[in-house]
Amino acid sequence: MKLFKSLAVGVALAVGLSGAALAQDKLKVGFIYVGPVGDLGWSYEHDQGRKALVEALGDKVETSYVESVPEGADAERVMTQMALSGHKLIFTTSFGYMDPTLNVAAKFPDVKFEHATGYKRADNVSTYSARFYEGRTVIGHIAGHMTKTNTIGYIASFPIPEVVRGINSAYLAAKAVNPEVKFKVIWVFTWFDPGKEADAANALIEQGADVIMQHTDSPAAMTIAEEKGIYAFGQASDMMQFGPNARLSSIIDNWGPYYIARAKAVLDGTWVSTDTWDGIAPGMVGIGKFSDKIPADVQASAQALADGIAAGTTHSFTGPIKKQDGSDWLAAGETADDGTLAGMSFYVEGIEGDLPK
């Protein structure tokens, strides 16, 4: 199986890169995706970013990508191929590419690497990620207002800090506008399994949830929400087409501006290794259009919240906040520091159930 996959990757690489060898003066930019570009979620949005880069810089750049690259040894091979074939800037867009990126980068000091969602850097390796939790604050606010049963269902993937952070920020925002609100969290232990995601959505609805949030990649939950006549939010992509009535808003990953800025930096010779963690303000996290189903005053307050976060006057995690076990975390008015957020592995007070280890 693995062998076939590597073969397939090799063939894709050969086909994808063969046309690229002609124009040497262009900056060649490579992208490595963990899923298919047609997942309408995570990898799809990275590819939208690549397209934005092509559109913005035109014939100054030449891009190529390889999709569905397994995390691990295959990723290292693909990166090496890209570096050997003259790519000077390579984006590796999944957490599991972290060590392969570092390994390959050490062998090609004149090639710039950009690794998404990781935390290890080098002179020629930058990291970048988005503050998705800021978006979750906004949709949590909407969810708190829109729920009639005071029960919000949350389909979670893996218990990693990024997902835990999302649950906490959404819960705090919902609780702030609706003290009665309860979160029911189901861990499905997969990023992508439409059947299981749909089953989880049904189980949550069965348990009284009338608004569903998700941190998984497929639009299955949105489809079920539409069918059952409840509300949901788009994840990574807008997902409007899957739930014209169910979709309240969405969190949209927008990588385009970052990719353009980084490619320009390489062209100017100003590229340096950095750590970027951008949110709503620079537009890396987009909030999808509000549905008409949301009352005007809630739309206004949600917009104000988003504006406040963008302006830096509001923070998703502002004290007083206690941890689930009742111990103090943030004092009144205190905001969370990035270090704690980056490694968050606890629920805030009020969320029921145990966080899987």
Partner: protein, 310 residues
């Protein structure tokens, strides 16, 4: 935690929906293996059925035509496998794996323009008076037609294999293809028909996923259910009725663990997540613990290459 909020009626109703795709794929694979062929391409045939069924349903706005297209799609895929393994005598394991990879890629190509479209909704059995019977009504009488059709297919397969002459011939081909050949049965032709039946069932299972259970098209949406169907055939020790037991057990524990999580039961989630696999394996191992009987059930020529010269 309040377990009383789990509604057993709704639980049973949704477990039947969750189990139907693997039930269909597994009963098809059972017939294939009974004929002595191991087709590991179930996942690839399922996903092909999922996109064929979805595309034709959307184009014609008729879900029944979609299901027929899904069966045809799965059968055509399996025919590729059949011709390669039966006429060109290729290795069944490698060909089956290749079929899965091909199916996943091919469906992604065909399905490119079908993401984000809503398929026509599927009719449900709704016998007014009967559906209102408390408990029994919603459990037994208020599903989409495919749930009943899947059970009917299992019953027909059981009847066919146990009581008909053709079924006996098919089993004999699976047990000892040389002897069957010596008796004048067309081994290759019988196996091809079995393989196509398996492909059609897998395609139907895939279409159930994309048309009824989720209903949408997303690349790779079968997400490994073909492999579970393959395992079910072995654990059910090649007995049709046990396929129902295994599929509903697996689907049931999956649905149950999701509901238990939603209720907030105090069991570590990791245990809940592995429960479907563990429970299904344990139960089926127990009921098939008599080694002698299992070796009788396993087709003796399973996976072996047949050529008329030997």
């Amino acid at each position: 935690m309040d377990l009383s909020t789990i509604n057993p009626v709704a639980l049973i109703a949704s477990l039947m929906v969750a189990s139907t795709p693997i039930l269909l794929a597994a009963i098809g694979e059972l017939v294939v293996e009974k004929a002595g062929v191991l087709n590991l391409g179930v996942e690839g045939m399922m996903i092909t059925g999922a996109i064929f069924g979805f595309a034709i349903s959307v184009e014609t706005q008729n879900p029944w035509l979609g299901l027929i297209a899904a069966m045809a799609g799965g059968a055509i895929m399996s025919l590729i496998f059949g011709i390669l393994t039966q006429y060109f005598l290729s290795n069944q394991v490698a060909t089956g794996l290749a079929l899965t990879l091909f199916g996943l890629g091919f469906s992604a190509l065909v399905g490119h323009s079908y993401t984000g479209i809503k398929p026509p909704s599927f009719p449900r059995l709704d016998v007014q008076v009967l559906t209102d019977i408390p408990y029994l009504g919603p459990i037994l009488l208020n599903h989409d037609y495919m749930v009943y059709i899947s059970l009917l297919i299992v019953a027909l397969v059981w009847f066919f294999l146990t009581f008909t002459r053709a079924g006996l011939v098919l089993r004999s081909v699976g047990e000892n293809h040389a002897a069957a050949h010596a008796l004048g049965y067309k081994v290759v032709r019988i196996r091809l028909l079995a393989i196509m039946f398996g492909g059609a069932c897998a395609g139907l299972g895939g279409a159930y996923l994309s048309l009824i259970r989720v209903p949408q098209w997303t690349e790779g949406m079968t997400a490994g259910s073909g492999w579970i169907a393959l395992a079910l055939v072995v654990f059910a020790s090649w007995k049709p009725w046990r396929i129902i037991l295994g599929a509903y057990l697996f689907g049931g524990v999956t649905i149950l663990q999701l509901n238990l999580q939603a209720v907030g039961v105090n069991i570590p989630v990791a245990y809940l997540s592995m429960a479907p696999y563990v429970v299904t394996i344990v139960v089926l191992v127990i009921i098939s613990s008599d080694r002698k009987r299992v070796s009788i059930n396993a087709p003796a020529s399973l996976g072996r290459v047949f050529h008329a010269s030997n």
